[in-house]
């Protein structure tokens, strides 16, 4: 069998970036939670907030470390795997990535040490400042990288000369048509992901009757946030969808499994799209609903896949089902968050073991929805790397397929070990829970003398 270097280069990049996104998805939201806890601790002086911050900072440190090391990989993989892309887009996207390093990565890294290890070395105000810098840094990082990604989806502010992009207006490059939607959608996703992790851990403690104060706070913050953000996210997703329909109609056609351009298009609940026959098998749908959602009109027109030649269409099956997974989980998160918040308000959540169990199982939901959403966005962009202009097949490096396959296997092996280690040590931290106060009179920030808290790794 002939190995296809284009497919392998894509698979390798898809694998490493999928692994990477799990960690920013957690840490962007979690850093905001840590910031909130530290502010509350400083304002109220309540040690419970401090202990909770110290606990979640350990999880944060674990996730952030994973994110950093898997992120460094990506900054070189653009060139190793997609040198054609790098050469063509360097003028436009290069400055965005350079600004990400200069304004975000250094800020995060520069204050992470103080945030994790500096509790006793700097004052409380300065520590709060370091935490804020890290939290803001994660947002700035998302800003630049999502601007670059969005430009690949909806390029603007450029001129194309002999196959090379030149920026004519950097403002238009950064604030390209899909960027504001993608940014809001992604940040909300990260906050929801972190909220459901906090909820799951707290629900698990509650079920076991352990770490009651930490569990109560975690449920209150997590469910409160999720109950507000989940509906906002659905609304933001809807707006994003309208934006995609305007700029990438074929992506929407793949999301909806729509082959013919149709007025009053149905919303398909189930279907097996088949590119060979250019039709769906086992179709189950709600008539006219897709048109209503996408055009806000029962008889609105939705572009079908067959409006473009086959070589310009994205892979339908993957986009269609990833979209359903994302939306399905999104609505499930909304139901769970509202149910949880309702019982929380009635002060009876601790007795609803069925719901607590569901909430534990929903812990990874944000990660799955985030990945599914990215698959919709990125597989839906195919066969283009810069939408409508540069084909992915023309962007890969002149590297033999064997090299790519070997290193792909290397990454799979390495990241499997890593994910296992993350889950194993994360579970260990969760089982151990927050450190209980040893002596009531320990001044805030003085730390404790217990051997478990004596090494920086235990932060």
């Amino acid at each position: 069998m002939e190995l296809d270097p284009v497919l392998l280069a894509r698979l390798q990049f898809a694998f490493t970036i999928s692994f990477h996104i799990l960690f920013p998805a957690l840490t962007i939201g979690l850093s905001g939670f840590l910031l909130l806890l530290e502010v509350l601790w400083l304002k109220t002086g309540d040690e419970a907030f401090h202990r909770l911050a110290r606990f979640w900072m350990k999880i944060f440190a674990l996730g952030f470390g994973m994110g950093v090391v898997s992120g460094v990989v990506l900054s070189y993989q653009l060139g190793t795997n997609f040198s054609g892309f790098a050469r063509a887009t360097g003028n436009v996207l290069g400055p965005l990535l350079a600004y990400e390093v200069l304004t975000a990565f250094f800020l995060e890294a520069g204050f992470l040490g103080i945030m994790l290890f500096g509790w006793d070395r700097v004052g409380r105000g300065l520590h709060l400042f370091a935490t804020a810098c890290v939290a803001v840094g994660t947002m700035i990082s998302a800003f630049w990288i999502l601007a670059a990604n969005s430009w690949m989806q909806t390029p603007s502010g450029y001129a194309l000369v002999n196959g090379t992009f030149f920026a004519t207006d950097f403002w238009a490059v950064v604030f390209n048509p899909s960027f504001p939607y993608r940014f809001v959608h992604t940040i909300l996703a990260s906050y929801l992901t972190a909220a459901f992790v906090v909820i799951a851990v707290s629900a698990w403690w509650t079920l076991r009757g352990e770490h009651k104060a930490a569990a109560r706070h975690g449920l209150a913050f997590g469910l409160g946030l999720a109950a507000i953000l989940a509906p906002l996210q659905i609304y933001a997703g809807d707006l994003h969808g309208l934006n995609v329909r305007e700029h990438q109609p074929l992506k929407v056609a793949a999301m909806e499994g729509l082959w013919e351009t149709t007025r009053g298009a149905p919303l398909l609940l189930f279907a097996l799209p088949d590119p060979k026959t250019e039709s769906n098998r086992f179709e189950i749908g709600v008539p006219k609903l897709a048109s209503l959602i996408l055009t806000h009109d029962w008889d609105g027109e939705v572009i079908g896949l067959k409006s473009a030649p086959p070589e310009n269409r994205p892979p339908v099956m993957q986009v269609f089902w990833s979209f359903r997974v994302m939306v399905g989980i999104g609505f499930a998160m909304l139901c769970l968050a509202w149910a949880g918040a309702l019982f929380l308000l009635r002060r009876s959540l601790e007795r609803q073991t069925w719901l607590l169990r569901l909430l534990v199982w929903a812990g990874p939901s944000g990660f799955v929805a985030t990945l599914a959403g990215w698959y919709v966005a990125e597989i839906g962009r195919q066969p283009w790397v810069v939408y409508g202009i540069l084909r992915t097949a023309d962007a890969v490096s002149p590297v033999p397929a064997g090299s790519i396959l070997t290193t792909l296997l290397l990454f799979i092996a390495a990241y499997t070990v890593l994910l296992g280690a993350f889950l194993y040590y994360g579970a260990k931290l969760v089982r151990h829970g927050p450190d209980v106060p040893e002596v009531a009179s320990v001044p805030p920030g003085a730390g404790s003398n217990r051997p478990l808290a004596a090494t920086p790794g235990n932060l």
Binding site: Y76, G79, T80, S83, L93, P95, E100, A109, A414
Partner: protein, 334 residues
């Protein structure tokens, strides 16, 4: 007034970023290389604690190197990385393992030894791979048009393997002299021994590279040995030799800061020497910095960002080091 030569300025900025990376991540990778030589677990804890709050910032300079090359010299980024595909991938995976070891080692109990080994192997392999890439960079790559046109194993030469080992010795020297500053007692005594041994090795490698490079490349020989250049360039090897002697003496006198600063100086001078050999190539002997530079408006935007942010970055990085100054205690930073 002549217009500013933007590619040249960008090349100097990028060279500065790489120098920062080599100096800073150099010593924390060096600690990883020396890790198995520590006397016991407590010493390994202290070695790791001495860099735990700063390693992430140190490694960020590598991301600036990669991202900066993409941004300022996309042509060089696109031509070089496929040429060193396998060593770069090995370096990245190795950095992953040594990076997570910082987090996981302290959380492990039974499996602590696993992460000890990951830290050592990851640091050593990453350093070796960087040295190999350096060797490839000195030797030049096979370019046709503006793309890499060689094979998957072009990077594998006696010279690049030698520079790989040389960099391991170099980072070990930085790691050992860093530890002299941060440790005391038996660990510091050990660090003095490690520093002497690695300095000896580094001296040998610097000499070999200095002779091998001009012998292997006529262009480099002409640059160093032509009479008109000699007065300008002769001070570089001279100063390197003198600084080497200074570090030997500082180690013999058991000075705490001199060896590290002197070793940084040795890296700086070797780096300048390489710069002299390779200027003005972005892809040695094939494409210059002007051939591969990004468009002027892109370079301008990048350089404005650099001018605004890098002073701030240097300031808060220095502050971070200041917060964690002094000897690293046995119990870490709590």
């Amino acid at each position: 007034m002549p217009a500013l030569d933007l590619p040249l300025v960008a090349a100097l900025v990028l060279a500065f970023a790489v120098l920062m990376y080599v100096s800073l991540d150099g010593f924390d990778l060096g600690l990883g290389i020396l890790f198995p030589l520590a006397g016991d677990d407590a010493e390994r804890d202290r070695m790791m604690n001495s860099v735990a709050p700063v390693w992430d910032g140190n490694e960020t300079w590598l991301v600036l190197g990669g991202g900066g090359l993409f941004a300022a010299f996309p042509g060089a980024y696109a031509a070089l990385l496929p040429a060193v595909y396998l060593p770069i991938m090995v370096m990245l995976v190795a950095l992953v393992f040594r990076g997570v070891a910082f987090e996981l080692r302290f959380k492990a109990e039974r499996s602590k030894a696993v992460w000890d080994r990951a830290f050592w192997a990851g640091s050593t392999l990453a350093t070796f791979a960087q040295g190999v890439v350096l060797g490839v960079f000195i030797q030049g790559v096979n370019i046709s048009g503006h793309d890499f046109a060689g094979g998957a194993f072009d990077w594998l030469t006696p010279f690049s393997l030698m520079t790989g080992v040389a960099l391991v010795a170099g980072y070990a020297l930085l790691g050992a002299t860093w530890l002299i500053m941060k440790a005391n007692g038996p660990l510091q005594e050990r660090a003095f021994v490690w520093a002497r041994l690695s300095l000896f090795a580094v001296g040998g490698f610097v000499a070999v590279v200095s002779l091998w490079t001009p012998l292997a490349s006529e262009a480099i020989a002409r640059r160093w040995f032509s009479w008109s250049h000699l007065p300008w360039l002769a001070p570089i090897p001279l100063a390197t030799g003198l600084l080497g002697l200074y570090v030997v003496r500082a180690l013999a006198r058991k000075q705490e800061h001199g060896p590290f600063l002197g070793s940084l100086g040795l890296f700086f001078l070797s780096y300048v020497g390489l710069g002299v050999s390779l200027f003005p190539y972005a892809v040695p002997r094939a494409l210059t910095i002007w051939d591969t530079a990004a468009a002027p408006e892109s370079l301008k935007l990048i350089l404005i960002g650099v001018a605004v942010t890098v002073p701030a970055i240097l300031a808060y990085t220095a502050y971070n080091y200041w917060v964690f100054r002094g000897k690293t205690g046995a119990t870490g930073y709590h």
